[in-house]
Subunit: 344 residues, 4 copies
């Protein structure tokens, strides 16, 4: 709770105007339920247009469910999923992937990087071939990563090539997918199916919606029965229009990309301001909407004293995340306070 | 999809003004996530005030999840849940209760009634006591039932007394709870914990929200770990304010009850109009917001020809459901068409 | 526990000589584990020879697991399995099928017959096609049934034809498969894959083993990953030779069929003796190794007074089951006591 | 498969005479099923006598199931289990713990030791307290460890003290429990409940049985419903006498301890012989029935050429495991070949 804006999480932001207006329009009259309405059809088509392919599109309530359901669709319970040790599915989902898949184990790369390499995948997928080791079936990468870094198209292609070679499917956790597109300046198609991604979870919540993620299957065969899977898992909205209309607002207006670009710009703004602050160090390259920093011992307590909220769960530094509504002036206040507190 | 209003489901309605306005207010500024915001606290307290007790309150996205999670909290995988053969958890959840509980079996009363009796519970709970039969642990009743009927307070008390005697917990599926309160004219407290209900799932979607149900544990001990359970099962909203604020709008304004009463009145209006229509029969007493009817062979096709939507999955008759926004004039049009088509 | 032999269950019998001798031979020396031993290879080949086809063969510890794992291999969690209301998987497995499959629902034919008909399958599989109803994927039949009745080859072929037409897989619970073969006098191949059965669980325990069932996939593609599934579910024996060698003993010696025939003969012996007993009625045709009977009110208490054990969970009558070691003289004692008690 | 004895695994051994004789005696006559027989009662009581306490005793088919079911009984799906990175439940169960518990996550200590310390437990249990991290509920230790090392009583007491303090339950994977008792020379009671262990899985297979593990709950309240849990999970043997009688043979005769001591002695015999072999190094202290060694590059290939079987999955060295039937002369042959091959 706070009066002045906070950057503790990009979940602190509300609903952006384009999503709000679409919900308002969608709220007129009575419409059929469970996705059999024009808004849902229109949203699904907006995704197909944006991704330049006839993919299967589903809408879930949040990222926990979207990613877990997508992985459950790729795996049987005795399969395993390869991921980075920073992967949100491993560190912050309270066992959701294992719950939805009924036991698919996550095989975690023991490197100190949020980015998975083709070599990480190869070693985890080939180190064992006995029945006592859950059979690797999928690889999941987060774009951008939990540390605000990006996989280049080349890196994604290298990962997907290794996946193909080893009979693995490639899943992309895109809870901040728009931020990745905004930075890389490539098309959604280039970053996903054209680079070999099989399934994408496209985040709507952090992009400016109230709630909602989209799951895109570029290999339509993988989506077989996924509608039933969503229903059984409590992820089928009866008044689906309110989950799909905001996507129409975001995608058709281009707000999805503008929102991502604005958040990224705020992160760059803070990073730039910190260049000149002695003793303050960026923990990771700033490539999306997050800034992770370390500084003098008194820095973090000082910022807390001044009312700033931030998480320290990654590497003990302070994480600041920006959203579609982040106020540049407020970013400057933060930069100034960081300078002051680190100088103290 | 349709221009003129339809009564195929109470999920066809949109968001009511009181819920909408609350969302709009909640959309101002940046707020902390995952329920650590004032709207969520205020909504939970509104429930405690309404139910006159310090219950544990949780918010889930939909009824499938709310009911399944509540039952999973009451059961281990080897337990069973007693329900009516009309229970939504048995007939329309695609195996969700079994999925969330990892196998808890539903023991279905083989009677042709949507209302479970204390005797049904007793016979299903005591017919066997061997290890090959899943140990009964909970009873679930729907209030109002899937047929639009109501349990009287006496009936609920009789069920809970039997539950207590047999060591069973009583769960109430209240996806249309407001409609039940409106008809019985009793307080939410009287219909639930004062009558022996342990857990209630209070439906928000059909009551006028975009999405969202509340789970109320009157026996707080049963809620232990439920916050983790919701998180793991993909039911924790990051921007929780948009799931909780609409409840503030509904509960503090009294709209929750007005909405239920309006929908019930529309059902009564149709039922009354049909009194005078020869050959048309009500399949169940009209006690909530639904009307189930049978008539001459040409009735249903005739209504379809005139563009009416309705379900026939219960007993082959036509189901019409009314919501907070149902237009009485349109109800009259339906009544007139029923008369015409049955006369044809 | 009792001195004189009891017929309460065919699980009361011990290990038959042929199975015992094979275990004894298998106990010589040290052998590789987890099925990489010659006994396991030999047992699997014995099944392939017996069934005249190159099927995939797996060994599990008991019938609960064998049947549940086989169904889990056919279904995703949102699928459903069609069965009779007498099916052991429905009535006596404490929710095991739902547990192993993570929620696949059993769709139970509401007929009063232990035998499923093609029409039962068709109606349950086609009555609904909406997402709220778990998608039917498999049919399971028990041969012989829990009531000791048999499906004829024609009936099995009719069921499998309907399954093929509707895209369903056919599973056979053969916990007493040998008894069925002994009565019908057909080959194992004729009763299974030649009749359209996709997966068979062949019971070893009731056939004379200490523990163990075999799962045969006639459509080898369905067995993909089944070895991992067994391992994860706690059904992979480390000293596998003791699970497989007894099969070598049973199959290579022909004891499997002799054991079944002997048990059936004892059932026929009792049934024949009861022909002449007034007031005693057979509840089901005696076609395998079980006899279900009803009689005067004093019959069952009388038999209990005389120390006889029997179950009454099916239809309230007394169930007597015979095994490979049942003593005909003891069967005659039972027949005599039945006559005496019903005359009393 | 091999003519001369191998030491690749202690699962290569057969059934010891004491277990065999008990099975033979148990095979006489017909006995009631599902554990309602005198052998099962006698075996359970033998455990209570051996452990000097009135614990709850259950019998499962193998260690995968015994350990997974025990952990599932301690946890809800959203809980987590703390273990070593060498723990068998983490490295060699194909996701069984996650499967049986429906998603309980294993929190793995990132140390390079098979032994968990109180500090490891404390840091994993207290590093986070948010809802996105599965709530720690149990700790599992393997005694002896997968590397053949032992926890001293002091170490176990320190772990259990920390567990008590943090509200965690302590589970002991005792697949080689007898070997631990033989080395430490303490009583089973001292090593378990007297040291604060809540649940023990006592391994029978490696101790000389064909199949079977025992699960002992020293806190009887934790066993509530465990019989149903076993049944549902396919771990209830119908002819239970064959799972329980061998325990009677092992426990009443003292063979359980003699078998463990013999296997340990063979490990010591090999370790002693290797003292004098230059270039060969023991990877872990030899405290139970396993020897892990490293040596010159040509050592392992040389041993393979001479027909020796061994695993290299831990640290790349060769693992040799001894059992109740290991032939000391054959151990000497192995020692000689190791000397020869490392000298080569």
């Amino acid at each position: 709770m706070s009066v002045s804006q906070q950057f503790g999480s990009d979940n602190y932001a509300g609903i952006c105007p384009e999503a709000w207006d679409a919900m308002q329009q969608a709220n007129i009259g009575s419409l059929t339920a469970y996705g059999e309405d024009e808004w849902t059809t229109r949203a699904a088509n907006a995704f197909r247009t944006l991704f330049e392919t006839d993919c299967e599109v589903f809408f879930a309530f949040n990222g926990t469910a979207a990613n877990s359901l997508a992985l459950a669709a790729l795996c049987q319970s005795y399969n395993s999923v390869i991921c980075s040790s920073y992967a949100h599915v491993e560190t912050d989902e309270c066992g959701a992937p294992e719950f939805f898949s009924n036991g698919s184990k996550l095989l975690v790369a023991r490197t100190d990087s949020a980015k998975l390499t083709a070599q990480d995948v190869r070693s985890l997928a080939t180190c064992r071939a006995d029945i006592h080791y859950p059979k690797p079936r999928a690889v999941t990468i987060t774009q951008p990563t939990e540390t605000g870094e990006l996989y280049s198209l080349e890196e994604i292609r290298a990962l997907s090539a290794t996946c193909r070679e080893l009979g693995l499917r490639l899943h992309m956790d895109g809870s901040r997918f728009a931020n990745a597109c905004a930075t890389l300046g490539c098309s959604p198609a280039e970053m996903t199916w054209q680079a070999g991604v099989d399934v994408l979870c496209f985040g709507g919540t952090k992009n400016g919606m109230a709630v909602g993620e989209a799951i895109l299957f570029f290999d339509r065969a993988l989506a077989d029965g996924f509608d039933y899977r969503c229903k059984q898992a409590g992820q089928l909205a009866s008044k689906m229009r309110f989950l799909s209309a905001p996507w129409v607002g975001l995608l058709e207006s281009g707000a999805w990309l503008r929102n991502g670009a604005h958040a990224n710009a705020c992160a760059q703004r803070l990073a730039a301001a910190l260049q000149t602050v002695p003793g303050v160090e960026l923990m990771f390259p700033v490539q999306a909407n997050g800034v992770f920093l370390r500084g003098p011992e008194k820095l973090l307590p000082g910022l807390q004293d001044r009312g700033w909220r931030f998480y320290t769960f990654i590497g003990g530094g302070a994480r600041f995340m920006f959203a579609w509504d982040s106020d540049p002036a407020r970013v400057d206040e933060l930069a100034a306070d960081i300078a002051t507190c680190s100088a103290a």
